[in-house]
Amino acid sequence: MNYTGFSYNIFSLGDAAITVDFGNYIDIDINKEVIARFNQLQQTPLPGMIEAVPAYSSLTVYYDVAAIRKLNPGLTAFETMQQLLEERLKQPILQKDGEERIIKIPVCYDTEFASDIQQLAAVKNISVEEVISFHTAKSYNVYMLGFLPGFAYMGEVDEKIATPRKSQPVNVAAGSVGIAGKQTGIYPLASPGGWQIIGRTPLKLFNAASLAPTLLRVGDLVQFYPINKSEFEKIKITESIG
C-alpha cells in the first residue's frame, strides 16, 4: 500500500532499469504523484541509481547492476531495486504542491507559421480566431519531456481544438506549436513530426550552450499568448543575442 493511496505496478525495463507505473492514463493527479516521487529521488538518490526519468504516469530508474548486486548478493539487482523503491513509495511526500513555475510563451498564429490551423478550424467548425482563443485561454501542465531535447508534453487542450495527429510525419520547424489529441507541445528543434501545427514561438525551447538547456521542466505551468509577426521578429532577435 502506497502512502498517498495510488496503486502502482512495478516492472523491469530490461536488465538495468525498473519502472513504477501508476496506471496507463494521462491524469494530472497521477502526474503530480510521479513528479513528487521523482523529486524525492533526485534529492535522495537510491544506491546504484544512474538516473530517474519521469513520464505521464510512470517513473523509471536506471541503475548499475553490479553495484546493486553487491548490496544484496542473494538477490537479483532488480529484486533489490524493487524493495528499495517500494520502501520509498511508503514514505510520505513532503512537498507535493510546491510552487509551480509559470512560463508565459508568446506564439504567432499567422498562417505562415501555422500550416494546419485553417484545416483544424474547418474540421472543428470554428474560426481560426476561436482556435487561438481556446489555445490561449487555459494554462497547461508540463507532464513530461521526451521525444526531442526540451520537448514538453502539455495538456489538456479544450475538447473543441483537440485533434488526432497526422498519419505521416512531415518536416516541422523549430518553435512550432502543435496539438495531438488533447496534448499540446512545442518542437524545440526542426524535426519530422506528426502534430497539427497551429503557430510558432520565437523563444528558444532548447539551448545547448545554457546550463539549463531546456526552457521547460516537468511540473511547470505554461500560458500561451498571441503575438503578431513583427513582435515575433523582435523577440527572435533578442533571443538570438541572449
Binding site: S58, Y62, F206
Partner: protein, 326 residues
C-alpha cells in the same frame, strides 16, 4: 558517419536529452584499455566507408570493434593491438570484413570540451563531440597529451600483444551461433498472441536498411497484439524492442529517444548490446527468451572480463615502455 563517443550522457533524460554514446560500449572499452586510457575515454566511432586519418604528430593508437581492413601507409594493420604511429602516417579503411562499428582511440584521449559531462556527439542537439556533428574532411583533432617516443622509428610499429576478446564468441553459456540474441519480456509481452510469441522466438528476423544509431527496424512475419490500446508515453531503454502498428519490430539503439508510446514487447539483455551493435542491415537475428538472473550474471561476467583485460593491458604496456626506455 564517424563521430566522437564515450559511455554516454546520463542524468538529463528528464529533459528529453537522450544518452547517445558508443553503440558497442564493450568494444569501445577494450580499445581504450589497450592504450592505457580510461575505459570510457572519448574515441572515434567509425562506420564504413570510414574517414582517412593523417597523423600530425606521433601517437599511440588502437583499433577495435568491427574489422574494416585497416592499413597504415598501405600496409595492413590488425585490430586490438597497440600501434605507434609517426607524423604523416596515413590510416585508411578498405572494406567491411566483419561488424558494423569500428573504434579508433588515441592514448591520452581527444582534446574536446564535454557537453553535460559527456564527450558523446548528440547529432540532434548539435552538441557534444566534435562541434556537435560527425567528422568531415579536413577536421583537425588534437590529442590531450603529446606522445613522446625516444626511439626514432623508421616505420609505424604494431606492438606484439593482442587484447583477448574470444570470450565474447566462445564462452557465453547457452549461446548457439552468432545470430542468437537473448532478451527479456517487456511489460507488453503478454499482449502478443500465442502465435506471435512463437514466431518471435522460433523464426529469425532480418535487420532492414532502415537501421541506424537510433534503432534497427526488423523484418519478419507481422506480429499481432491482442490489445490495441496505446501505451501512455514512458521511458524506454537501449535494447527495448517495440511493436509498431504495422506488426513490425524496432530495437532501440544508442541514439534512441528517451520516451516512447509503442508497446515494449521485449528488451535485449545488456550483455548482448555489443553483439547487436556489430550487426548490420541484412544480418539475421534469432531471439531467445532468458530471465533476469541470467541477464545480470552475463553482464557481471562481461564486466569482470573487462577488468581482467584492463589489468593485462596496463601490465603489458608498462612492461613495453620499461623495456624500450620511453
Amino acid at each position: 558517419m564517424d563521430t566522437i563517443q564515450d559511455m554516454g550522457r546520463y542524468g538529463h533524460q528528464l529533459l528529453g536529452i537522450n544518452p547517445t554514446g558508443a553503440m558497442d560500449k564493450y568494444a569501445m572499452q577494450v580499445t581504450n584499455m589497450l592504450v592505457g586510457n580510461k575505459p570510457g575515454e572519448a574515441l572515434i566511432e567509425l562506420h564504413f566507408p570510414a574517414s582517412v586519418f593523417m597523423f600530425t604528430q606521433p601517437a599511440l593508437i588502437a583499433l577495435g570493434g568491427a574489422d574494416f581492413s585497416a592499413s597504415i601507409n598501405g600496409e595492413p594493420v590488425p585490430n586490438l593491438h597497440c600501434i605507434i604511429v609517426r607524423k604523416n602516417d596515413l590510416l585508411q579503411f578498405h572494406k567491411p570484413v566483419s561488424g558494423a562499428r569500428a573504434y579508433l582511440t588515441v592514448k591520452g584521449g581527444i582534446a574536446i570540451k564535454p557537453w553535460l559531462n559527456s564527450y558523446s556527439t548528440h547529432l540532434k542537439a548539435k552538441a557534444g563531440g566534435f562541434n556537435g556533428r560527425n567528422l568531415h574532411k579536413d577536421d583537425e583533432l588534437l590529442i590531450n597529451q603529446p606522445f613522446f617516443s625516444s626511439a626514432s622509428l623508421d616505420d609505424f610499429k604494431v606492438l606484439s600483444w593482442q587484447a583477448d576478446t574470444k570470450y565474447l564468441t566462445a564462452a557465453q553459456p547457452g549461446i548457439n551461433g552468432n545470430d542468437e540474441i537473448l532478451m527479456l519480456p517487456g511489460n507488453e509481452w503478454e499482449r502478443l498472441t500465442n502465435e506471435s510469441k512463437e514466431n518471435f522466438t522460433m523464426t529469425s528476423f532480418v535487420i532492414t536498411q532502415q537501421s541506424d544509431r537510433m534503432g534497427y527496424r526488423l523484418n519478419n512475419i507481422p506480429l499481432h497484439s491482442m490489445i490495441n490500446d496505446e501505451v501512455v508515453s514512458s521511458a524506454v531503454s537501449f535494447g527495448t524492442i517495440q511493436l509498431l502498428p504495422d506488426g513490425g519490430l524496432i530495437v532501440l539503439m544508442a541514439d534512441h529517444q528517451t520516451t516512447g508510446g509503442y508497446p515494449r514487447v521485449a528488451h535485449v539483455i545488456t550483455a548482448h548490446h555489443t553483439k547487436l551493435a556489430q550487426m548490420k542491415a541484412g544480418d539475421k537475428i534469432h531471439f531467445r527468451m532468458t530471465d533476469l538472473a541470467t541477464a545480470e550474471q552475463l553482464l557481471i561476467k562481461q564486466q569482470q572480463h573487462l577488468l581482467q583485460l584492463q589489468n593485462a593491458c596496463t601490465f603489458r604496456l608498462e612492461q613495453y615502455f620499461n623495456e624500450h626506455h620511453h
